[in-house]
């Protein structure tokens, strides 16, 4: 498969390195003290309550926000030079869904930067977009206007666009938030596929059950890095309580968060 072209030259070191990173909006430090190395071929979950700085950290990682302190390296380059390594799924709220583009158009947007200025998509780019839509089960919707889709379908279209980017560092901001079961299963299946192909998958999530089940490693965040490491060592009551504070209830059969929304 052409999408796996990055495998042949898979770098050895960490795919992503945070060194004492702090990110701020104006004077407000949203997140700080983040140091972690994330390696290819793993699924890393980013956990934390609302306002913990998960989205902020991911936006700094893709180079949309500058770091206030420390450094972020993607395959040993600065985020803004590493666009060709990245596949990115932003939160749906940032997207202008009324914009008159089709599902296929959106998938094809994953190629905009790789194509470069003043060049038009070719047959190969269209095939990539078609394949990616097939992988997320949206090929029958290619001609639809994106605004007409359900939340779960929109999520799969944005995921297809991330696949078209063909990066080996896959950054997903809340890929499972508010989606239907079909979409959840499709997304989780894809995460495993990408990991098995050697990609680093970094996703933020509210869903502790999925995080414990799917992720190889966890980063626990609450305005600073609380803990990081393999899921079995990090996913323990003490760490989760330190991350979520008193909003967390731990039951013998599982975990629930009370953040006022449920």
């Amino acid at each position: 498969m052409a999408e796996l072209s990055f495998l042949s030259s898979r770098p050895r070191g960490p795919a992503v390195e945070f060194s004492d990173v702090a990110v701020a909006y104006n004077d407000y430090v949203a997140v700080q003290d983040v140091t972690a190395a994330l390696h290819p071929g793993t699924i890393v979950g980013l956990l934390g309550p609302n306002g913990a700085g998960k989205t902020t950290l991911l936006r700094a990682l893709v180079g949309v926000l500058p770091v206030a302190h420390g450094t972020i390296r993607i395959h040993d380059t600065a985020p803004r030079e590493a666009w060709h390594h990245l596949s990115y799924l932003p939160q749906q709220e940032e997207v202008n869904w009324d914009f008159p583009v089709s599902v296929f158009d959106v998938a094809l947007m994953g190629r905009v930067r790789a194509l470069g200025w003043l060049s038009l998509p070719r047959a190969e780019d269209r095939r990539r977009a078609e394949r990616a839509l097939g992988r997320v089960g949206m090929e029958d919707f290619a001609a639809r206007q994106v605004g007409q889709l359900s939340r779960g379908q929109r999520q799969r279209v944005l995921l297809a666009r991330a696949l078209v980017q063909d990066g080996d560092v896959v950054i997903l901001d809340e890929p499972l938030a508010g989606v239907d079961t079909t979409t959840q299963e499709a997304v989780i299946g894809l995460l495993h596929e990408l990991r098995d192909q050697g990609a680093l998958v970094l996703m933020s999530t509210h869903d502790l059950a999925v995080a414990a089940d799917v992720c190889d490693q966890l980063l626990c965040l609450n305005r600073r890095l609380i803990a990081s490491g393999p899921t079995r060592t990090v996913f323990v009551p003490d760490v989760l309580r330190a991350t979520y504070g008193s909003t967390l209830a731990i039951f013998s059969e599982g975990v629930a968060i009370h953040d006022g929304r449920r």
């Binding site: 936006r59 990115y88 940032e94 914009f99």
Partner: protein, 295 residues
């Protein structure tokens, strides 16, 4: 034959020929740039731009330099000013736009009031004078038109990505700020050449109305632009004829025709018009299958 004569007779007049050509050019340009203004919800910014270029045009008029240069300078200054002033978090972007565009407009009014023929000059800038355009004006509009069409065509994929999902465009490393400023420069160029024809007050309608009409008729970006351009051009031509035969103000007539097109689409657009939606609601079984699934 009378109908044909009614169409052809005005075209034998030189000033009307130029007016028609100018109206078509402006209709097309405003339709295309207006599509971005509507889709990116920049209507207020479009209005701001129309007022902000006003002092530039007055200063250029007083100094006898090119109106386009003066207007463009003020358009860019105001766009940068809005960005700078709204850096202060207690001043929202729309407040900054409101403050700066009315401020700039007031500067224009103060400057123009120093001229003796003040009322007539002010009226011609506020309301436009499409029948007074010179061959040079038409040439300038054509040049601006070529530039705008080339930019919109060449940067189509970047402009549509940044308008659909700014964060993603930024994450991909596209220069989003430069793309936004580029779009604002194109907008101010189109506004300036349109002011000669329809005036500061009515130019907003030429930006918004044809694009909003097209929005009711299609779900694709390029067809939206094409329909908006067609509605703009048709409104220009029909409005000028109406203005000639009824002896009313040309700018107002053009905008009224465009407004009529908008309400026709609002009522009768096949999918999104009022009548179509009512019909579908009363005949769900029949029409649903025929029109296709709707959310």
């Amino acid at each position: 034959m009378a109908a044909v004569d009614a169409v052809l007779t005005p075209l034998q007049l030189g000033f009307l020929q130029r007016g028609m050509l100018e109206a078509v050019l402006i209709g097309v340009l405003c339709g295309i740039i207006g599509t971005y203004v509507v889709l990116r919800r920049m209507a207020f910014l479009g209005d701001a731009m129309a007022h902000a270029v006003f002092p530039g045009i007055v200063i250029a008029f007083l100094l006898r330099v090119d109106l386009l240069l003066g207007g463009l300078a003020f358009g860019i200054l105001t766009a940068l000013g809005i960005g700078t002033v709204s850096q202060n978090r207690r001043v929202s972007a729309d407040s900054a736009i409101g403050v700066l565009f009315v401020g700039a407009f007031a500067l224009g009014v103060v400057l123009i009031s120093s001229i003796r023929s003040y009322v007539r000059d002010l009226a011609s800038i506020l309301l436009g004078d499409i029948l007074g355009v010179t061959a040079q004006d038409v040439g300038l509009t054509m040049a601006v038109g070529c530039l705008v069409l080339a930019a919109v065509f060449l940067f189509h994929k970047e402009l549509s990505l940044v308008s659909f999902d700014r964060d993603m465009a930024d994450a991909m490393g596209l220069p989003v700020a430069a793309l936004d400023i580029g779009l604002l420069v194109l907008l101010s160029l189109v506004v300036i050449v349109s002011i000669q024809a329809v005036g500061t007050i009515l130019v907003l309608a030429m930006l918004i109305t044809p694009a909003a009409t097209a929005r009711l008729l299609t779900e694709r970006l390029v067809p939206t632009m094409v329909i908006a351009a067609a509605v703009g051009a048709l409104s220009g031509v029909a409005g000028l004829y109406a203005s000639y035969y009824l002896n009313v103000a040309s700018g107002g007539a053009i905008v009224l025709v465009a407004t009529a097109f908008f309400f026709l689409a609002w009522l009768f657009a096949p999918r999104y018009g009022l009548v179509g939606r009512r019909l579908r609601r009363s005949l769900p079984g029949v029409v649903h299958g025929a029109v296709g699934r709707l959310p």
